[in-house]
C-alpha cells in the first residue's frame, strides 16, 4: 500500500494491533468493506499524516490511532463505499482536513470526529450547500488554534452554508471566537465587532453585513417541483408561525426556517400544520395583483397574479402560487 513514510512506519510498528482492530470490526459488522478501508487509509488518512509529520513528528502515532479508529467506524456505518456521503467525507479528508493539521495534532480524535460528523450531517441535508461549507472551512483553517475554536468554526460556517435553523446557536458559537475568525467564517474581511454582527443578526434574520445582498428585490426561492429534483409534489401552501412557516405540499408537511444564508425544511406531523393559525403582525404586507407592498417597498412578484397567496411573520413574507412549486421569500423590511 503506497502510503507516506511516517504513516507507513506507525502501521508497520504496530501491525498486529491495527490488524486486530480491523478484524474485530469485521467480525462485528456484516459486509465490512476491507477494500474501501484500505482506500480510506491511503487516500484520506495519509494526506493528514503527512501534514502532521511536517508539524510535529511526535504526534503522528496518536493521530494515526485516532484516524484509524474513525476510519473503522465509518466503514462500520457503510460510509466507505461510493455513496454520496462517502464521497463528501473523502473530499473533506483529502482537501480540508490536512489544512487543519495544527489543531488536529493537539486533539486528533475529537477534531477529526467532529469534522467528520459535521460533514455527514451537512451532506445528509439537501437544503445545505456542502461545497460552500467546505470552501468556507478551508479559508478559516489557518486561524484555528484550538478544538473549541474548531467546534465554533464548524457551526458558524454551517450556518453560512444554509443551516438557517442553527442561526442562534451559530451566533452564540461565533461569540466564543476571536472576532477576526468569526467574521472570516462569514466571509467578512473588515474588522467589525462580533457583538454588532450578533445584535443585527439576532434582530433580523435577513440582515447581512454584505451591502450587496440588501437589494430591494432580494428574494429567496425555495422548494421546487419534485420531478425536477425539488422537494414538492404539489404547489405548496404556507402558514406563518413565529419560527418560520408551516408548509403543506401533497401528503408532506414541513416547518420552513429561512434567513439570509438559506432555508431548511423540517418534517412535521400533519396536525401541526392543520392547527396552526395565522399569526397577527403589525402593518401586514399586501398583494395587489402580482404587486407585493411591504412597509418600505413595492416588489413585482414574477408569478401569475391569479391565485397568488401570501403569508407573513415578523420578519419574512412568503408568496406562493397554484402555478408554481416554489415558495418566494422576501424580507419584510430592508435595513
Amino acid at each position: 500500500m503506497p502510503v507516506s513514510a511516517p504513516f507507513g512506519e506507525v502501521l508497520a510498528q504496530r501491525r498486529p494491533e491495527f490488524n486486530a482492530r480491523a478484524l474485530t470490526m469485521k467480525s462485528r459488522v456484516q459486509g465490512f468493506n476491507g477494500g474501501a478501508f484500505a482506500v480510506f487509509l491511503e487516500q484520506c488518512i495519509d494526506p493528514l499524516i503527512v501534514e502532521i509529520a511536517k508539524l510535529d513528528r511526535d504526534r503522528v502515532a496518536q493521530c494515526v490511532d485516532a484516524a484509524y479508529d474513525i476510519g473503522l467506524e465509518l466503514m462500520a456505518h457503510g460510509l466507505g463505499s461510493v455513496s454520496p456521503k462517502a464521497k463528501a467525507i473523502e473530499k473533506m479528508w483529502q482537501m480540508i482536513i490536512p489544512s487543519f493539521a495544527k489543531v488536529i495534532a493537539q486533539d486528533p480524535f475529537e477534531c477529526l470526529g467532529m469534522m467528520t460528523n459535521a460533514c455527514i450531517n451537512m451532506e445528509a441535508n439537501r437544503d445545505l450547500r456542502l461545497n460552500d461549507w467546505l470552501l468556507s472551512l478551508g479559508f478559516a483553517a489557518n486561524n484555528v488554534a484550538t478544538t473549541a475554536q474548531l467546534q465554533a468554526v464548524l457551526k458558524l460556517t454551517a450556518w453560512r452554508a444554509g443551516a438557517a435553523h442553527f442561526r442562534l446557536g451559530a451566533l452564540a458559537a461565533g461569540a466564543t471566537l476571536p472576532a477576526q475568525i468569526a467574521c472570516a467564517c462569514l466571509g467578512q474581511k473588515r474588522d467589525m465587532a462580533w457583538s454588532d454582527f450578533q445584535a443585527n443578526f439576532e434582530k433580523d434574520p435577513w440582515w447581512s453585513p454584505d451591502e450587496r445582498a440588501r437589494t430591494a428585490n432580494f428574494c429567496l426561492s425555495v422548494g421546487a417541483f419534485a420531478g425536477f429534483g425539488g422537494r414538492f409534489s404539489a404547489p405548496p401552501i404556507v402558514k406563518a408561525c413565529p419560527a418560520g412557516f408551516y408548509v403543506a405540499s401533497g401528503p408532506q408537511y414541513y416547518l420552513l426556517i429561512a434567513d439570509v444564508y438559506g432555508a431548511t425544511f423540517h418534517a412535521v406531523p400533519q396536525d401541526v400544520f392543520t392547527h396552526q393559525r395565522d399569526i397577527e403582525i403589525i402593518n401586514p404586507p399586501r398583494l395587489n395583483g402580482s404587486e407585493l407592498t411591504t412597509a418600505d417597498r413595492k416588489i413585482d412578484v414574477d408569478l401569475p397574479k391569479s391565485g397568488l397567496a401570501l403569508s407573513a411573520n415578523q420578519h419574512t413574507i412568503a408568496v406562493t402560487s397554484p402555478f408554481s412549486h416554489m415558495i418566494k421569500l422576501y424580507p419584510r423590511v430592508l435595513r
Binding site: 482492530r21 462500520a76 475529537e110 477529526l112 470526529g113 451537512m122 442553527f166 446557536g169 412535521v268
Partner: protein, 526 residues
C-alpha cells in the same frame, strides 16, 4: 489513544421518530453529533431526558442484554399475523416500535424509582440486568457488586442493615451511645437484593421496613434511606425459594419481569464477548449514565403525563370487575372477596354459593381477589412511565394494555377452579399469567364498548356534576338530584344481575346520595 470499544455506540436520535415534538427546537450541537462518538456531541437537556432513556434502552438491547424478545407490541397499522403449530398460537409482526419487557420494565423501574422483581431460571441474566441498572445511576461495577445483597438462609438483620460497634456495646450507658455501622447499600439510589426468597422470614421483615418505609432501624437507631429503584431477583416467584416470601413484601413489588430463554441463534454474540473478553457492564457509555437530578427530573416529567378521562374510565371499569363477591356479604358494602378471604371459610364453598350470574361472562369470577389501591397506583404510575418513555404526552389505551400484566402479575390471583379456565381454549391461561391478564383487560374493554360507556355514562355524569361543587345549590335542585340518583339506582337494579362494575356504580350512587342528603340537612339547619 481512544480505545476501540465494541460497546461504545449509543443509538442515534431520534430513537423513536414518531414521537410528537412538543415544540420544535434546534440545537447547533447536533451538527457535530454522528457516528463518531466525540466529547462534544450534544448533551441531552431536560426536555430530551426521555430520549436519553430510550437511548439507554436501545444500548442495553443492542449491546448488553442479548434479548431478542419483543413482547411489548405496538402497531400503527394492522400487523401481519401467522398462526403457528398445532395450537395455532399467533406470531405477530408489530408495525410500530415494540419493546422487550425484560429491558423496558427494569428501565421504567429505574425512571420511577420503583421496585422490580426479576424471575426466571438460573443463568438468564437477572442479576446482570440489575447490575446494569445500577450502573445507569452512575455507580461503578465494583460499588454495585459490593453493595448487592445476596439472600441466604443464614442472613441476619445485622447482615442486612448493619452492626452496632462492638466497643460501644461494651462501654455504652444507653442505647443512644451505641453507634451503628450501617451497611453501604442503604444510601444507594439503586438497591439490589439477589435471591430474595432465600432470606429468612425475620430478616425479610426488616427488609420490608426498608422497602416499604424507606428507613432501617437497629437498636433504636434509624437510618433514613433515599428514594431508590429496587431490583430483586428470584429463581422462582411462586415460593420456590428457601423461605416463603412474606405477603407484605411481595405486595411491595411493583412489577415482575420474567427472564425469557436465550435464543441460540444469537450464540455468535456470546462468542464475541468471550473472544473479546468484553463485559458490557464495564463499558456503559457515559452518554446514558443518569445523574441523580436527571432521574428526579424524569420522575417529575412522568408525573406530568396525563391520563385522559376516557382511558381512566376504562381502567376504572376494569378495576371494578374483581372485588364483588355477592355470596360473601349480607350488607351491600361487604359483598367482597376481601370479606370472603378474611372469613377463612373455604373458597370453594363460598364460590359454590355464588350463583345467578353468568360465571363465564363475568370476568370477576376469574380471580380470587380484587385490586388494591397500591396496585392501581402502580398501574397508573407505570402507564405514565411507558407513555413518557415512548415520547407521548399522554397515556394511550395500548400503554395501559401493555403495562397492566407486568403490574398485576402476582397481584390479581386467578381462581383456577373458575369455569373460564376449564374451557380448553383457555387452558393456556392457567400457566401464562401475563397473557391471561392482558386477555382479561381485553375482555373488560369489549364489555365497556358493548355497554357504550364512552358515550353513555350517567353515573359518571352525576359524579362530574357533584365534583363541580355544592356552593349555591338550592334545596330544590338538591332534591332534584336526589330523585335522579334514586331513579338511576332503580333503573340499574331493576331485573338486572349484579356485576362488579354495576356494584361499584351503585356504591358511588349511594355515596352521592349520602353527600346530597347531608347537604340537604345542612341547608335545612341554616
Amino acid at each position: 489513544v481512544v480505545a476501540f470499544n465494541i460497546f461504545s455506540r449509543v443509538s442515534k436520535s431520534p430513537t423513536n421518530p414518531n414521537v410528537a415534538q412538543p415544540s420544535r427546537s434546534f440545537d447547533v450541537a447536533d451538527l457535530l453529533d454522528g457516528p463518531i462518538a466525540t466529547r462534544c456531541a450534544s448533551v441531552p437537556d431536560r426536555a430530551s431526558l426521555d430520549e436519553k432513556l430510550r437511548q439507554a434502552y436501545f444500548w442495553i438491547v443492542n449491546n448488553a442484554i442479548i434479548s431478542p424478545h419483543y413482547d411489548i407490541e405496538y402497531n400503527d397499522k394492522p400487523p401481519t399475523r401467522f398462526p403457528v403449530g398445532d395450537t395455532k398460537r399467533t406470531l405477530t409482526l408489530p408495525t410500530a416500535q415494540s419493546y422487550s419487557s425484560y429491558v423496558l420494565l427494569p428501565l421504567l423501574t429505574f425512571a420511577t424509582r420503583s421496585k422490580c422483581l426479576f424471575v426466571g431460571g438460573p443463568g438468564r441474566g437477572k442479576t446482570a440486568s440489575a447490575i446494569l441498572m445500577a450502573i445507569l445511576a452512575g455507580y461503578s461495577v465494583k460499588q454495585v457488586r459490593r453493595a448487592m445483597q445476596h439472600g441466604h438462609p443464614q442472613m441476619t438483620i445485622a447482615d442486612l442493615l448493619g452492626n452496632p460497634l462492638p466497643a460501644d456495646m461494651v462501654s455504652a450507658q444507653s442505647m443512644e451511645d451505641i453507634r451503628i455501622a450501617w451497611r453501604s447499600w442503604l444510601p444507594m439510589r439503586v438497591k439490589i437484593i439477589d435471591e430474595y426468597n432465600r432470606i429468612p422470614t425475620r430478616t425479610q421483615s426488616a427488609l420490608l421496613t426498608v422497602m416499604g418505609d424507606n428507613y432501617a432501624e437497629v437498636l433504636n437507631h434509624v437510618f433514613e434511606c433515599p428514594d431508590a429503584a429496587w431490583y430483586l431477583t428470584a429463581n422462582d416467584d411462586a415460593g420456590g425459594g428457601t423461605y416463603q416470601v412474606i405477603e407484605a413484601l411481595r405486595d411491595r413489588i411493583d412489577v415482575i419481569v420474567q427472564a425469557l430463554s436465550f435464543n441460540p441463534r444469537f450464540l455468535g454474540d456470546l462468542l464475541l464477548r468471550i473472544e473479546e473478553d468484553a463485559k458490557p457492564e464495564e463499558a456503559v457509555p457515559r452518554d446514558i449514565i443518569f445523574s441523580e437530578d436527571e432521574v428526579t427530573q424524569i420522575g417529575k416529567d412522568i408525573r406530568k403525563i396525563t391520563i385522559p378521562k376516557p382511558i381512566r374510565r376504562r381502567i376504572e371499569f376494569f378495576a371494578s370487575q374483581f372485588e364483588l363477591f355477592e355470596a360473601a356479604g349480607d350488607q351491600f358494602e361487604y359483598m367482597t372477596k376481601d370479606t370472603a378471604r378474611l372469613s377463612q371459610v373455604d373458597w370453594t364453598q363460598i364460590t359454590a354459593a355464588d350463583q345467578g350470574r353468568d360465571r363465564l361472562k363475568d370476568i370477576g369470577c376469574q380471580t380470587r381477589n380484587g385490586l388494591s389501591v397500591r396496585n392501581l397506583m402502580t398501574l397508573l404510575k407505570f402507564a405514565k412511565a411507558l407513555a413518557y418513555f415512548r415520547g407521548a404526552g399522554e397515556v394511550g389505551l395500548e400503554d395501559v394494555r401493555q403495562i397492566l400484566p407486568f403490574v398485576l402479575n402476582d397481584k390479581l390471583h386467578p381462581d383456577l377452579d373458575a369455569d373460564f379456565f376449564a374451557l380448553p381454549e383457555n387452558g393456556v391461561f392457567r400457566v401464562d399469567a401475563l397473557s391471561w391478564l392482558r386477555h382479561l383487560f381485553d375482555l373488560s374493554n369489549d364489555e365497556f364498548n358493548r355497554l357504550d360507556l364512552d358515550r353513555n355514562d350517567p353515573v359518571g355524569d352525576l359524579g362530574s356534576q357533584f365534583d363541580a361543587g355544592l356552593d349555591g345549590l338550592s334545596e330544590r335542585d338538591t332534591k332534584g338530584r336526589l330523585t335522579e340518583i334514586e331513579r338511576l339506582i332503580a333503573q340499574h337494579t331493576k331485573g338486572r344481575k349484579l356485576y362488579g362494575h354495576l356494584y361499584d356504580d351503585l356504591l358511588k350512587l349511594k355515596y352521592l346520595h349520602q353527600r346530597y342528603t347531608n347537604y340537604l340537612h345542612w341547608l335545612g339547619a341554616r
